[in-house]
């Protein structure tokens, strides 16, 4: 580690995990920077928890290495790693009250009673649980337990905090509040957060960077904007946000832009990978990047309105193209009671510049 870049908080190199003959993780390689809010995002069963448990030390790697601030940690048991975890179901100690739960790690580290008391008080204030100090976990709501779990994991000032779907047990409103709170806690404390979720909205709204995972492999790593705007492959485009995915074929290629044929229509799309003319792939267009108009404009496609679904802030419109393809579009309902689009009406779809993306896989 003699190069100029700062030492990574967590460095994973070709990390793999097999359970018997089932491969849960394959060749995971990436760095998580210090002070970063890093999210592991992926569908259920893709190996997020497994990866987190390997960093925490509950699960041994079957391949590769894990370094924590430059130190190799695979051989260390969980109680020797300067890493703390917020467990999915909190795993609060049922026989201890809030203060004892929060102070447990400090006691194990051999802090003095006075130091523990001071730190616990600080943590309790941080998560605003002042009036619950003497309560047992069973006497608290899910949201309050969640805060205790957070305070307990943060009290020993870990170098890295691991959070396994900490918000999934909360209701929507509370979840949204906690998102903001977690994010600002991370900013204030400067602790590296590794946050696991299968909720793409959660990932987009909180993370500095996201690793999108599928079936034990990392599909793409990037900022929320990166993974949303420039998905690396079909899986990422589909998993993050809504998108229209259409089978397409590359026509003329000009650097980063490619002319795509799909279902009898053609459109100019961006691409990242090397694309050869005639190559088959997928065209991804986000619904909100489509505009519906009545007049033919430059780059617009004639279409007919199919089903419309009113969704409050906006309306989802299915538009059938002449070639047979169907695109979903989203129109903001900026005017109350404005004319709804009528089924069967002829319109023109305009694709925002750079909004169409050609994906090879």
């Amino acid at each position: 580690m003699t190069n100029q870049t700062p030492i990574a908080a967590v460095a994973l190199r070709s990390v793999g995990k097999d359970f018997g003959d089932f491969t849960a993780l394959k060749d995971v390689t990436f760095d998580i920077g210090d002070n970063e809010f890093f999210t592991l995002l992926g569908p259920s069963g893709c190996g997020k928890t497994t990866l987190l448990r390997m960093i925490a030390g509950f699960e041994a790697t079957t391949a590769g290495t894990i370094h924590l601030f430059g130190d190799e940690i695979e051989t260390l048991p969980p109680d020797k790693r300067p890493v703390n975890t917020v467990f999915q179901n909190y795993a609060l100690f049922p026989h201890m009250n809030v203060a004892e739960n929060i102070g447990f790690g400090l006691k194990m580290l051999g802090w003095s009673k006075a130091d523990i008391d001071a730190r616990v008080a600080e943590m309790i204030q941080m998560v605003q649980l002042g009036q619950f100090v003497h309560r047992k976990p069973s006497q608290m709501s899910g949201g309050q337990q969640q805060r205790v779990a957070l305070a307990r994991a943060m009290a020993p000032k870990p170098k890295v905090l691991l959070l396994d779907e900490p918000l999934s047990a909360l209701d929507l409103k509370l979840r949204q509040e906690m998102r903001a709170e977690l994010k600002s806690l991370q900013r204030e404390t400067g602790i590296t957060f590794i946050f696991v979720t299968h909720d793409q909205e959660e990932a987009l709204s909180m993370s500095d960077r996201i690793a999108v995972m599928s079936a034990g492999e990392v599909q793409q790593i990037g900022t929320p904007e990166d993974v949303y705007e420039h998905p690396a492959n079909r899986f990422v485009a589909d998993f993050i946000g809504e998108t229209n995915l259409l089978e397409a074929e590359a026509g003329t290629v000009d650097g980063q832009s490619v002319m795509c044929q799909f279902g009898g229509s053609s459109i100019s799309a961006t691409t990242t990978g090397a694309v050869a003319p005639g190559q088959k792939g997928w065209l991804s267009i986000r619904p909100e990047r489509l505009t519906i108009g009545t007049a033919l404009g430059e780059g617009s496609i004639p279409a007919r309105i199919g089903q419309t679904v009113y969704l409050g802030t906006d309306t989802q419109v299915m538009a059938h193209l002449e070639g047979g393809a169907t695109l979903g579009a989203r129109m903001q309902n900026t005017l109350a009671g404005a004319d709804r689009l009528t089924e069967g009406a002829d319109i023109h779809l305009t694709v925002a510049p750079g909004a169409a993306r050609f994906l090879v896989e």
């Binding site: 795993a91 049922p94 194990m108 006497q139």
Partner: protein, 304 residues
């Protein structure tokens, strides 16, 4: 068990039905449990009839006999009668040692079974209980046969040259403890198993994550959380051990008399003394109740 605070109450709409559903239990408990105990209480204050049985005449003689020695003809000044107190003390010690042995062996056993894959746990539990399908008397006699001076155990130890003189086990305190331990081990294993099986192992991981060593996790997380199971097991072993008479009779011989045998003797044959047996039972019962009372109170306090 102890985990849920506050306590749930069933909706009052069910109250009338509940009364009817509970009636058989109440009747059974009342009829077969409370009435016999009350009967014993009454008998303990009656006068003894010489060939067993009682004369319906109030008397404190049974309790007096238990506590005081008034000489052969009953007219010496009373001194403390140590015989029975000693038997009680020995019984408590024997039962305590048997309980500790059961706990030391039972906890790892229960832990092992509860941490097996769910599919094989039933088999292990079955194996633990298999010997208990055989009558306790037969098992105790077998144990006597096994450990006696020229029994298979000693023969094996002598034959292999591990020992050069037979182990004198039979008619010792240890033989009684062994017998009690063997009689009641499943009563320790089963409640602890039930508690460990419910234990959430994520708690152990959380503790390890918070820098606790294996030993500390066991001591400050696992044991407190499964404590209700351990206490239930201890009560289930201690109480019957205290009143046991088969193991002390068959394995302990005359020197190692315990309460159970003392009481048994009072109701057996012509030499019996029913009021005295009833009084000894009442004293035993009150001791057990005191222990249970303190346990219940400490539990109630922990709930807060």
């Amino acid at each position: 068990m102890a985990a849920v605070g506050g306590g749930r109450t069933v909706s009052s709409a069910f109250a009338p039905i509940r009364l009817w559903l509970l009636l058989p239990s109440w009747l059974t408990i009342g009829f077969f449990l409370l009435i016999p105990v009350l009967l014993m209480l009454v008998y303990s204050f009656l006068t003894k009839e010489f060939r067993g049985g009682v004369i319906w005449e109030f008397s404190l003689a049974a309790y007096d006999q238990f506590l005081f020695d008034r000489g052969l003809f009953g007219d010496d000044p009373p001194t403390i009668q140590w015989t029975y107190i000693t038997i009680f003390a020995r019984s408590i010690i024997q039962a305590t040692i048997a309980t500790i042995m059961c706990l030391l062996i039972g906890f790892p056993t229960a832990w092992y079974i509860a941490t097996r894959p769910a599919s094989s746990r039933a088999v292990w539990l079955f194996l633990v209980t298999v010997p208990y399908w055989v009558n306790l008397l037969i098992r105790t006699v077998s144990m006597k046969f096994l450990i006696r001076e020229n029994g298979p155990m000693n023969e094996a130890l002598l034959g292999t040259g591990i020992l050069d003189a037979p182990l004198q086990l039979i008619n010792t305190d240890f033989a009684v403890q062994l017998g009690l331990f063997y009689s009641y081990l499943p009563f320790m294993v089963l409640p602890i198993y039930a508690a460990v099986e419910r234990y959430n192992f994520a708690l152990s991981e959380a503790a390890a994550d918070l820098y606790a060593s294996h030993w500390t996790i066991m001591r400050s997380i696992v044991l407190p959380v499964v404590k209700p199971g351990i206490i239930a097991g201890c009560i289930l072993v201690f109480v019957p051990s205290l009143g046991a008479f088969l193991a002390p009779d068959l394995l302990g011989g005359a020197k190692n008399f315990m309460i159970g045998s003392l009481i048994e003797e009072q109701f057996k044959g012509q030499a019996g003394n029913w009021p005295f047996g009833a009084a000894a039972s009442m004293i035993l019962l009150s001791m057990v109740l005191v222990v249970l009372f303190f346990y219940a109170r400490s539990q109630a306090r922990e709930q807060v």
